[in-house]
């Protein structure tokens, strides 16, 4: 039996600022786009601020109304990155098997560390304690025999949670949860599951497997095993580095060749790709476009950028320019795919320009949009061009 720990930092961005500035500890603190201008939205709220009903994604003016004494700070990515690095250093002192999942969470496989450092529970307690005392960052810890259950465990209680899931309590903790709480089940899948009358993870676990596979294919099988607490994926310390590319593709409901419509689909795909890219804290240097036409003839072309990007706009513009250059406009398209590769850690700072797009502004806008989507779901905020497209016809 493996021992996997999942640690999730609580209100990470806000916690970093509080850790950095002792005067802000224990006070409501909000990381927000542009606090001076009163516009902008809340990216992260400290737990003290959440007591006032302030949530990620609400506008700054509303947050000020809810809690006039709140401290507002602008986001500082280099600060978050440096804390993230320090946290990983602490984790790596217990095991080399540390898999960062995003800037503020990671898995550890401590199966082989027990003789050196004690039981998984002891290691988990020590980690939580050290991250709190040495760095001042609160976290929630989940311990379980696999990655899926460990992550589900750390989700149980925030902040400062500590949850162990094992064979004895797995059904008790996991099964009453609604399916949308299950890691790996997105909005669409959750809706489809509910249509089938499956509302909780327990109901999913007791479904006949063939009904799930006939509806969801391979994913159905994956859902089934996860719901039953089975996951044998290894903790891979190089997962992020080996994630050589991030991509999304879509088979269209009907073949299209209207350039505007193509652009709309590419924008949607670029946004999904960009979201995952940003979540992982990366930027990418290469954009690849895949097109399959009505005769199943496919074309894959890549373009390498002058400098790495994490912006949806740049990914979209690049994919679009490949499409314009490489694809005959009269051919009807059946499938479109956008992916990015040549990944690297996202750099800090913005090179200012004399003329041209203001990268800093775009990046802040993107951050705000991501926060809204994190909080309210992917449909909460959509680009007007995409909206125009779906209502047309």
């Amino acid at each position: 039996m493996r021992s996997i720990i999942h640690i999730d930092m609580n209100a990470f961005f806000a916690s970093c600022h509080q850790a950095e500035n002792p005067n802000w500890r224990g006070k409501p603190l909000l990381v927000a786009g542009d606090p001076q201008k009163r516009r902008g939205i809340v990216l992260t709220a400290s737990y003290e601020a959440r007591k006032y009903g302030i949530k990620t994604g609400i506008p700054v003016w509303q947050a000020k109304k809810l809690c006039p004494e709140a401290i507002f700070v602008p986001p500082d990515h280099s600060l978050y990155l440096s804390y993230s690095q320090k946290i990983l250093e602490i984790m790596r002192s217990y095991t080399p098997l540390v898999e960062p999942f995003s800037i503020d969470e990671a898995w550890l496989d401590v199966t082989g560390s027990k003789r050196l450092f004690g039981t998984a529970e002891e290691i988990g307690r020590a980690l939580q304690q050290r991250i709190k005392t040495e760095l001042g960052i609160p976290s929630s810890v989940g311990i379980a025999p696999n990655k899926f259950l460990a992550k589900m465990a750390s989700e149980q209680k925030k902040p400062n949670g500590f949850t162990i899931i094992n064979a004895d309590n797995m059904q008790e903790i996991l099964w009453p949860l609604p399916v949308e709480k299950m890691v790996g089940v997105g909005h669409k899948s959750a809706a489809a599951l509910k249509e089938m009358g499956i509302n909780t993870i327990g109901e999913l676990a007791r479904m006949p497997l063939h009904l799930l596979t006939s509806r969801f294919g391979v994913m159905g099988e994956i859902f089934f095993h996860l719901a039953n607490g089975r996951d044998d994926s290894p903790v891979d310390p190089h997962a992020l580095e080996t994630a050589k590319s991030i991509g999304h593709s879509v088979t269209l409901p009907r073949d299209i060749n209207d350039p505007e419509e193509v652009s709309g689909v590419l924008l949607d795909l670029s946004e999904r790709v960009g979201r995952r890219l940003r979540r992982a804290g990366y930027s990418a240097r290469t954009v690849t476009l895949t097109i399959k036409d009505q005769n199943f003839v496919s074309l894959t072309r890549a373009q390498t950028l002058n400098k790495p990007t994490f912006l949806t706009e740049t990914i979209h513009q690049t994919a679009l320019s490949i499409y314009r250059r490489q694809f005959e406009p009269w051919r009807k398209i059946r499938l479109l795919g956008v992916s990015v590769s040549n990944l690297q850690d996202r750099q800090t700072g913005f090179q200012l320009t004399l003329w041209g797009q203001n990268e800093e502004k775009l990046s802040r806008l993107t951050e705000a949009a991501d926060a809204i989507k994190d909080r309210f779901g992917e449909q909460a905020l959509r680009r007007a061009t995409l909206f125009l497209h779906t209502t047309k016809k």
Binding site: S78, N306, Q344, Q347, T348, Q351, L352, T353, W355
Partner: protein
């Protein structure tokens, strides 16, 4: 065509024209060099359809004719064993025999009729014209070419803006992150005007020009810039793009100015660049009275170094791309350079003490 000429002369001229050869072309004749003799002069032509180079060599009255020989002809001539080289072309099949010492080459030539016509140099149709010393033009190109953009999606910034005014030529290049502007004193000049020249073509001009007092004659005809220099005729297509207003972005007022020893500054930034983060090569400069502290850090570690300076006015904390600084410091000729400061997160200007008309503006990295 039949002619004999010194091997060295031909090799030299071929080395110049083949700079215009494309790596590959859709027209196979374009991948070769056009040899054309009127009996008195042999002219050699190469073009990548964007720029073209033609040079002329005097040959004593010999059989005239034309042929296109593959680009490899440069290598062939360079390695010939004899002091002189004889070239004869069979006009039926363009088979070309090249004799030198005991070596005999037979090269399959192509029909010169398939060779594209280069834009004609018709001085009477020139919109603009000027002449300048080669050494002066070379200096100006060296001071600006490094600042152009290689990003084809911003075509205007892949060129150097030439502005003729008041008997001087101003060259401006920018990749939008920094801007280099310099001047050349002109020998002669027509009316005022401006045009945008592809940097790629100018790179070749820089390689061809010698560093002396020879005069280059230049003219803009149609959408082409022509340069005539000794026996060399150079032409390049101009960029049909709008270059944004340069004056508007150059600050006129500064809050501080630091004077530094060029070599000292250069070596410090070179050291800091070793540990600056890969992508935008960030170096932090803390400029105070008497000294500047340079800091950089990357995955590998950190560096901090302090260098002396003289400061007038206010200092600044600023982060810059080390490569941008190095590009300019490496070509700075004066012992000193001046760093003009306009404030944090605002542009700064670097100047060479030996050529204070030369301006190099760098935008910082906002953290």
């Amino acid at each position: 065509m039949q002619l004999t000429l010194p091997q060295k002369t031909l090799a030299q001229q071929l080395q110049i024209v083949t700079r215009a050869l494309p790596l590959r072309s859709t027209v196979s004749a374009v991948e070769g060099v056009l040899f054309s003799s009127d009996g008195q002069t042999l002219s050699l032509t190469a073009t990548n359809l964007e720029m073209g180079i033609r040079t002329q060599i005097n040959v004593n009255s010999q059989k005239k004719g034309q042929v296109v020989l593959p680009g490899k002809i440069m290598e062939i001539v360079r390695r010939l064993p004899g002091d002189s080289v004889s070239i004869s072309v069979n006009p039926e099949n363009f088979l070309t025999t090249i004799l030198s010492g005991q070596a005999e080459f037979q090269v399959y030539g192509l029909n010169a009729a398939d060779y594209p016509e280069l834009p004609a140099f018709l001085p009477e149709q020139a919109k603009l014209s000027f002449s300048v010393k080669t050494a002066d033009l070379r200096r100006a190109l060296r001071q600006t070419l490094f600042a152009v953009s290689t990003d084809e999606s911003k075509p205007a910034f892949t060129g150097v803006l030439f502005t003729l005014q008041d008997n001087s030529l101003r060259l401006v290049a920018s990749d939008t992150f920094r801007l280099a502007a310099t001047y050349c004193q002109l020998e002669e000049m027509s009316t005022a005007g401006e045009f945008l020249v592809p940097a790629k073509s100018l790179q070749e001009v820089l390689r061809i020009l010698t560093d002396d007092e020879t005069i280059v004659q230049a003219a803009v005809i149609g959408n082409q810039l022509f340069l005539q220099y000794e026996a060399i005729n150079f032409s390049t297509r101009l960029l049909d793009e709008n270059f944004p207003n340069v004056e508007r972005v150059i600050p006129q007022e500064f809050c501080g100015e630091a004077t530094l020893e060029t070599e000292n500054f250069l070596h410090t930034i070179e050291r800091a660049a070793l540990l600056s983060a890969e992508d935008n090569n960030i170096v932090h400069l803390s400029i105070g009275s008497g000294s500047m502290v340079v800091r950089a850090s990357s995955k590998l570690g950190k560096i901090q170094e302090s260098i002396p300076l003289e400061l007038e006015g206010e200092g600044v904390e600023i982060a810059l791309n080390a490569r941008f600084l190095l590009d300019m410091l490496r070509i700075t000729e004066g012992h000193q350079c001046f760093l003009q400061i306009t404030g944090p997160n605002k542009p700064c200007i670097l100047k060479d003490s030996l050529d204070t008309d030369y301006l190099y503006l760098v935008l910082p990295i906002k953290l």
